[in-house]
C-alpha cells in the first residue's frame, strides 16, 4: 500500500519537476538562435540598431538561462533516489548521453556565454558573433542528448540486457542516437521551442507597439521572429506528423489513447474536435460529440488511407486477424521472461554454474535459443509485472485533450505568425491592435502547447518507464512515501519561487526596455 503511494508520489514529483524545468528550456533554445540571427545582422550591416536590439533580447535570454540553469539536475537527483531500479537497469544507456550533455553544458556555460555577455567591445565583432552562435548551437545540442535518452525509454533499441550486471548495455550508439523516435523527438522538440521563442519575441514586441514604445526595435524584431517562427511552425507540424507516424508503429497504445480510438478501424478518421463521455466507451461510443476528417488517421499513421489503426480494445484483448497479441498473452510471455531471470538468480545464489550458463544462453542474441527467447519473451519482459490488462491503457482524456491543444495551437501559430509577418512587412501591423493583443496572449498559449506535447509523450507511455520492459511500479525505489511527499513540496516551493523570480525580473526588464531606463507608468493594454 505504502509502496503504491511511493510510486504515485515519485511520479507526481518527477512530472512536477519536469514541467517546471520545461518552463525554462524552450525559451533558452529558441531565443539563443534569434539573438544570434539579430547579431548576425549587426555584424553584416554594422548598424548599431541591431546591436542594441540583440543586446535587449540577449538580456532576456540571460535571465531565463540563469534562473533555469541546473534545474534539470534535480531530475537526475530523482533518478538516483526515487528511481534507483530504473537507474540501474538503464545505467549505461542513460549514462553516456547525460555525461556528454554535462560536459558540453559546462564548456558552453563557462566559455561561450561568458564571451557573449562580457565580451562586447572586448573581443572582435566576429569573435563575439561566433560565441553567440556557439552558445545557440551548444544549447540545442545539449538538448539532443537528453532527448535521445528519453527516446530510448520510448523505444529501447541498440542495447542488450546483461544478466551479470542486470542492466542494459549499449550495443550501438548510432542505433540509440539515430532511432526514428530520437530523430523526430529532437527536431520536433527543438523546432517547437523555436516557435515558442518566436512567439515570445513577437508577443513582447507587440506589447511595445501597443504602447507605442520602441517601435523600430519592435518592428525589426517582429520581422525576424515572425518569419523564423512561421518557418519553424511548419517544421513543427511536419516533424509532429512524422512523430505521430512513428508512435503508430512503436507505441500503438499511445496513438489509440491520443485519438480515444477504442475499436480499431481500417480507413480511420482523425478527430479534429471532440468531447469525451465521462463514462468512457459504452455502447454509444466514447464521444459526446465529434468532428473528424475521414481516413486521415490511417493516412497519418501508416501513410495509407485504408490502413488499419488498432484501437484500445484490440490492443488489450488482442486481434488475431490483425496479428495483434492480447495484453494477457504478452503478460504470460513477460512472466516467463521474469521467471527465467528468477532462475538465474536462484542459480547464482546456489553457485550452480551450469544452470546459470543455460539462462545466459537465452539472453544471448548470438545463441539460437537466445534470438528466439529475446524476441518472443524478453521483448515483453515488463508485462510480466502487470496485474491486469487494463493497466496497459494510459489516461485517455489527458492524452486526447493534450494532443488537441498542441496540434490546434500548432496550426493556429502557422497562420498567426505568417499573418503577423505579412502585415508587419506592409507596415499595417501597428494599427491592428486586436492582433497585437492576441500576440501578447499567445505567449502563455505557446507554453501550454509545449507542456501539452510532453503530456502526450510521457503520460502516453504509461505504465512504462521503459517501453514494454519496465513498468513504473518496478522502476521506483522502495522508500517511504512520506519522504517523497516531503521533497515534492520542497521542490514545489523552490520552483515556484524560481518561476516567480524569473517572471518578475523579465517583466521588469521588458518594462525598462532596451536601454534599461525607467519609463512612466504605461497605459493599460
Amino acid at each position: 500500500m505504502d509502496y503504491l503511494q511511493t510510486v504515485d508520489w515519485s511520479r507526481a514529483q518527477f512530472a512536477m519537476t519536469a514541467v517546471y524545468h520545461w518552463f525554462f528550456v524552450p525559451l533558452t533554445l529558441g531565443l539563443s538562435v534569434l539573438a544570434a540571427i539579430m547579431e548576425t545582422l549587426y555584424y553584416r550591416t554594422g548598424d548599431v540598431f541591431w546591436r542594441r536590439t540583440t543586446r535587449f533580447w540577449m538580456r532576456l535570454f540571460g535571465i531565463n538561462f540563469a534562473i533555469g540553469v541546473a534545474t534539470g539536475l534535480i531530475l537526475e537527483f530523482e533518478f538516483g533516489t526515487n528511481w534507483s531500479n530504473y537507474s540501474h537497469f538503464v545505467g549505461d544507456i542513460f549514462g553516456a548521453p547525460l555525461a556528454i550533455e554535462g560536459i558540453m553544458a559546462f564548456f558552453l556555460e563557462s566559455t561561450f556565454i561568458a564571451v557573449m555577455f562580457f565580451g562586447w567591445d572586448k573581443v572582435s565583432r566576429g569573435a563575439h558573433l561566433a560565441a553567440t552562435w556557439l552558445t545557440a548551437v551548444g544549447a540545442n545540442l545539449s538538448a539532443l542528448w537528453i532527448l535521445v535518452a528519453n527516446a530510448w525509454m520510448q523505444y529501447p533499441v541498440g542495447c542488450r540486457f546483461n544478466l551479470q550486471t542486470v542492466r542494459n548495455e549499449m550495443t550501438s550508439f548510432w542505433e540509440v542516437a539515430l532511432s526514428p523516435v530520437a530523430v523526430n523527438k529532437f527536431f520536433h522538440a527543438v523546432a517547437s521551442s523555436f516557435v515558442l521563442a518566436a512567439l515570445f519575441v513577437v508577443g513582447v514586441s507587440a506589447w511595445y507597439l501597443l504602447r507605442r514604445r520602441e517601435e523600430r526595435m519592435a518592428r525589426g524584431s517582429i520581422a525576424i521572429a515572425s518569419f523564423f517562427g512561421a518557418v519553424f511552425a511548419v517544421v513543427t507540424a511536419v516533424t509532429g506528423d512524422r512523430s505521430g507516424a512513428v508512435v503508430a508503429r512503436v507505441q500503438p497504445m499511445k496513438l489509440a489513447a491520443m485519438e480515444a480510438l477504442y475499436d480499431g478501424e481500417a480507413g480511420a478518421s482523425l478527430t479534429v474536435v471532440g468531447l469525451l463521455r465521462r463514462d468512457r466507451a459504452d455502447d454509444d461510443g466514447p464521444f459526446r460529440f465529434r468532428i473528424g476528417i475521414p481516413k486521415l488517421l490511417s493516412w497519418m499513421s501508416f501513410r495509407d488511407a485504408e490502413s488499419y489503426v488498432p484501437g484500445i480494445r484490440d490492443l488489450v484483448a488482442g486481434n488475431a486477424e490483425r496479428g495483434i497479441l492480447s495484453a494477457e498473452e504478452m503478460m504470460a510471455r513477460g512472466r516467463k521472461a521474469v521467471a527465467e531471470l528468477g532462475r538465474y538468480r536462484a542459480a547464482r545464489e546456489a553457485g550452480d554454474r551450469a544452470a546459470m550458463a543455460a539462462v545466459e544462453r537465452k539472453f544471448d542474441p548470438a545463441a539460437p535459443e537466445g534470438e528466439e527467447f529475446l524476441r518472443e519473451y524478453f521483448a515483453y519482459f515488463g508485462y510480466g509485472y502487470l496485474e491486469s490488462p487494463a493497466q496497459t491503457v494510459p489516461n485517455v482524456p489527458l492524452l486526447f485533450y493534450s494532443f488537441r491543444v498542441m496540434v490546434g495551437a500548432g496550426v493556429f501559430f502557422i497562420v498567426l505568425l505568417a499573418a503577423v509577418w505579412w502585415l508587419n512587412r506592409r507596415g499595417t501591423l501597428a494599427s491592428a491592435r486586436w492582433l497585437l493583443r492576441l500576440c501578447v496572449w499567445m505567449i502563455p498559449v505557446a507554453y501550454l502547447a509545449s507542456q501539452a506535447g510532453w503530456a502526450v509523450a510521457e503520460a502516453g507511455r504509461q505504465p512504462w518507464a521503459v517501453q514494454n520492459l519496465m513498468p513504473v511500479g518496478v522502476a521506483a525505489s522502495k522508500i517511504p512515501s512520506a519522504s517523497v511527499g516531503t521533497t515534492f513540496f520542497l521542490f514545489l516551493a523552490l520552483f515556484t519561487v524560481l518561476l516567480a523570480v524569473e517572471i518578475s525580473i523579465l517583466l521588469r526588464q521588458i518594462r525598462l526596455g532596451p536601454d534599461g531606463a525607467e519609463i512612466p507608468e504605461p497605459e493599460k493594454l
Partner: protein, 71 residues
C-alpha cells in the same frame, strides 16, 4: 583570441567587476539556487538509494527487486 591565460583571467575579472545590477541579481539567484540544490536537497533529501553498495551488490539488489514476486 586570447593569447595568454592572464588575458582570460582579466577578461572574466573585468566582466564580473563591470557587471550591471541585473547581472549581480542573477548571480545571486544562481548561487542561492545551487546552494539549496546541492548543500540542502542533494545532501539531506536525495541520497543515492544504492549508495555504499559495490557494483556486484547493486546488481544483486536490483536482481532481487526484479524477481521478488514479479512472476
Amino acid at each position: 583570441m586570447f593569447p595568454t591565460l592572464r588575458c582570460i583571467v582579466r577578461f572574466y575579472a573585468e566582466g564580473f567587476r563591470s557587471m550591471t545590477a541585473l547581472g549581480r541579481t542573477l548571480w545571486i539567484v544562481v548561487l542561492v539556487k545551487l546552494f539549496v540544490m546541492f548543500a540542502v536537497l542533494k545532501l539531506f533529501f536525495f541520497p543515492d538509494f544504492l549508495a555504499g553498495k559495490s557494483d556486484g551488490e547493486r546488481a544483486a539488489y536490483v536482481l532481487e527487486e526484479l524477481t521478488d514476486g514479479g512472476a
